[in-house]
């Protein structure tokens, strides 16, 4: 029996999409502009019903494309509104141009994103190719393992985005989290409202008595400084994310950080991954621990800004680590999470652990306990010097001829 952690919390059975929509209702943004796309459609569909029923004061703009969704969200934010949107995959790709603009203009937009494979071939199922491709866009990226985390991350993201002046996306794995029901805790409206507070923009378009120009052209003389400031804001966001997590824990009782460590204290072999596969990995770790194999997990929650120093430190004492990427980079070398983990380790002088990179689950391909177990068995052999770590990316559960 799942019990609430927060004294006034209530346990419900909801999907990831339902929990994200519930968070949006409680956040009660001034403007939501969105367009339907599987598997994120439900979020804005449920939210539209809240609007239709008068449960939120939000102006809902049912735009004609995701490009316009992000454009209108950006404009609403500049105008002085707390503005949100939601999308997935191809819709996210269509927003691409505007993602960079939202970040460059330093707008605290929050987006509910459901991770889905990118075309071609067209596929509606979960992988993280969409948001991984936007890892340099200047958005804070927060990944969720289950509906509870999706809900908690949405609530925290408003505070994070507004303090960091950076757009923030909260993601779930398509269908696996977005459509699967789980027991989760929701908090009373007034407590969420108190936590997110009210949005007070420094300046906004509708304040016409204090006119300003935004979206100027900047040439060789200014552009670089503003892009530097954006990159610096991302570095500075690390502290903000931890501060908000601390407040969240004080208020609602759940603990969040850059990543979750599972049995890492004495781990000799470890997996680093993101999202729903973490749950499967934990179950495997429990089995392996019973056999005396010291397996651990780092489940990344905050991928942007990347917690490089922290991860390097936590991996320093393992003998072998595998990074499981649910996106490929088609770079000719390794996948995105692995590349960042390796950079972090090397820059911090952590060079003793053997490393492996696996790509798994593209287009929603099954990853089960046996697949994860195989990874740990291989890591165990590598750790003991009985096998070599691969020099190239390896693939899990794909037919290769």
């Amino acid at each position: 029996m799942v019990k609430p952690i927060f004294s006034k919390g209530k346990i419900v059975a909801k999907t990831g999409n339902e929990m994200m929509a519930e968070a949006m209702r409680q956040i009660s943004p001034d403007v939501v502009a969105a367009y339907p796309i599987t598997p994120a459609t439900e979020i804005v569909q449920i939210f539209s019903q809240f609007v239709a029923d008068g449960k939120v004061p939000t102006e809902f703009v049912a735009v004609e494309s995701e490009h316009s969704a992000m454009s209108a969200t950006i404009a609403a934010s500049v105008a002085g509104a707390r503005a949100m949107t939601g999308t997935s995959s191809q819709g996210f790709a269509l927003m691409w141009e505007m993602l960079y603009i939202a970040a460059g203009l330093r707008l605290p937009i929050v987006m509910a994103e459901v991770n889905r494979a990118l075309s071609a071939p067209i596929n509606i199922h979960g992988d993280q190719s969409d948001t991984m491709g936007a890892r340099d866009a200047g958005w804070i990226q927060i990944y969720s393992e289950d509906p509870q985390e999706a809900y908690d991350n949405m609530i925290q993201s408003v505070r994070i985005a507004e303090a960091a002046k950076l757009p923030t996306m909260v993601t779930t794995d398509g269908f696996i989290i977005s459509h699967c029901m789980a027991a989760a805790e929701v908090y009373p409206d007034e407590d969420v409202k108190e936590f997110v507070g009210t949005y007070k923009p420094e300046r906004y378009l509708l304040d016409y008595k204090r006119p300003f120009t935004l979206g100027s052209i900047e040439m060789q003389d200014y552009y670089f400084e503003h892009r530097y400031q954006l990159a610096q804001a991302m570095r500075d966001a690390k502290k903000i994310i931890l501060d908000v997590a601390k407040d969240f824990k004080n208020k609602f009782g759940r603990e969040y950080g850059f990543y979750e460590k599972y049995k890492m204290d004495d781990a000799e072999i470890a997996i680093v991954t993101i999202g729903s596969a973490a749950g499967t990995t934990k179950a495997v770790i429990n089995e392996l621990r019973e056999k005396g194999i010291k397996a651990g997990l780092i489940k990344i929650r905050i991928f942007r800004p990347f917690p490089a120093d922290e991860i390097a430190k936590d991996l320093a004492n393992v003998k072998a680590v595998a990074v499981l990427d649910r996106a490929d980079s088609c770079s000719g070398t390794f996948a995105p999470v692995y590349s960042d983990v390796i950079s972090a380790m090397y820059a911090n002088g952590v060079t003793s652990p053997k490393t492996e990179n696996y790509v798994y689950g593209l287009g929603g391909r099954e990853i089960d306990m046996n697949h994860i177990k195989d990874v740990y068995m291989h890591l165990d052999e590598v750790a003991k010097g009985k096998a070599q770590a691969s020099k190239t990316v390896e693939y899990i559960n794909v037919r290769i001829k």
């Binding site: 404009a75 016409y208 120009t213 935004l214």
Partner: protein, 314 residues
């Protein structure tokens, strides 16, 4: 009907010192639009293009009113977002309930082509805004490439005159008709050469509770290859030759608001001969093409005269 005396008292909300070319009509469009707004608070948004890059070179700005630009194809979606924020914040009592008008600018490239979907969406959703297309009939900012507003026969850098081609092969798209087909309460065509007509239209549009659209013809003297001091005369000739009918569609009712001077239609060549983009059309080997263009202009002119209930001026 606007009075020049009264208008002259209105604040200048687009200042001089911007970096538009001498003879460019885009600055005239912006200035006249804001003069027409009088002292009504406005928020201006713009598509990427000459108007935007020339008036907002960081850290300077020519705009004394809130001005926002984000990208090329989304001026209408941007105005939608600002208007949505306005409605929401007023409804919640977060800002004072007072009128603010929303004006979106876009060139013909940003409106007829890449921004058409965004514009259509905004018009259909019914946001209260005035969308002004400052139409100089090509992608002038990137160096005179053809758009779907470029007239047939005009030379552009992506529809150049060559040994086997004589400029753009297709007639221009009738965007005003497309917007009118959205059944918006107000859509109009105008020119920068008739301030009174244009300002009256802007005022009508701003007083309309719904989406409104004005397509204003304005020369790019580099792209058209005309003299900078002739900008106003060029668009007057577009009206005299019936190439650019000046009319409005108010709640479905068509009205011609400007007619060819002297009540007589001039041949298209009278418009073409002052502009280097058309000069090849006046050469003997293009006589048949010129006749075809004239026939196309005549047919469209008759059609718009019929819609406006006007006798066809010949």
């Amino acid at each position: 009907m606007a009075s020049l005396k009264e208008l002259s008292k209105n604040a200048e909300r687009v200042t001089g010192g911007h970096r538009l070319c001498a003879g460019c009509g885009a600055g005239v469009v912006a200035r006249q639009t804001l003069i027409a707004a009088g002292d009504t608070p406005v928020v201006v948004v713009s598509a990427t293009g000459c108007l935007e890059v020339s008036t907002s070179v960081f850290p300077y700005t020519a705009w004394k009113t809130p001005f926002f630009h984000s990208a090329f194809e989304n001026s209408a979606a941007t105005a939608s977002g600002v208007e949505a924020a306005y409605k929401s914040l007023i409804r919640q009592g977060k800002i004072k309930d007072e009128p603010i008008r929303f004006i979106a600018f876009g060139g013909d490239g940003g409106t007829y082509d890449i921004g058409l979907q965004s514009l259509s969406g905004a018009m259909e959703r019914g946001h209260r805004m005035l969308y002004v297309c400052y139409n100089n009939e090509a992608y002038m900012n990137t160096g005179i490439q053809r758009s779907s507003a470029t007239p047939q026969g005009a030379s552009a850098t992506t529809s150049p005159v060559g040994k086997v081609k004589q400029g753009k092969e297709q007639p221009k798209k009738d965007l005003t008709a497309i917007i009118a087909a959205h059944n918006v309460p107000y859509a109009a065509q105008a020119i920068i050469g008739n301030w009174n007509d244009y300002i009256t239209k802007v005022q009508k549009a701003l007083n309309t509770d719904g989406p409104t659209f004005i397509n204003v013809l304005t020369p790019c003297r580099l792209g058209w290859g005309c003299k900078p001091e002739d900008s106003m005369e060029m668009v007057r000739l577009a009206v005299d030759t019936c190439i650019w009918p000046v009319y409005e569609v108010e709640n479905g009712k068509y009205k011609m608001t400007m007619k060819p001077r002297g009540g007589k239609k001039l041949p298209v060549g009278e418009f073409f001969k002052h502009q280097s983009r058309f000069k090849h059309l006046l050469k003997p080997h293009n006589a048949e093409l010129l006749a075809n263009i004239q026939a196309d202009v005549d047919a469209k002119w008759e059609k718009i005269c019929a819609l406006c209930g006007e006798e066809v001026i010949k």
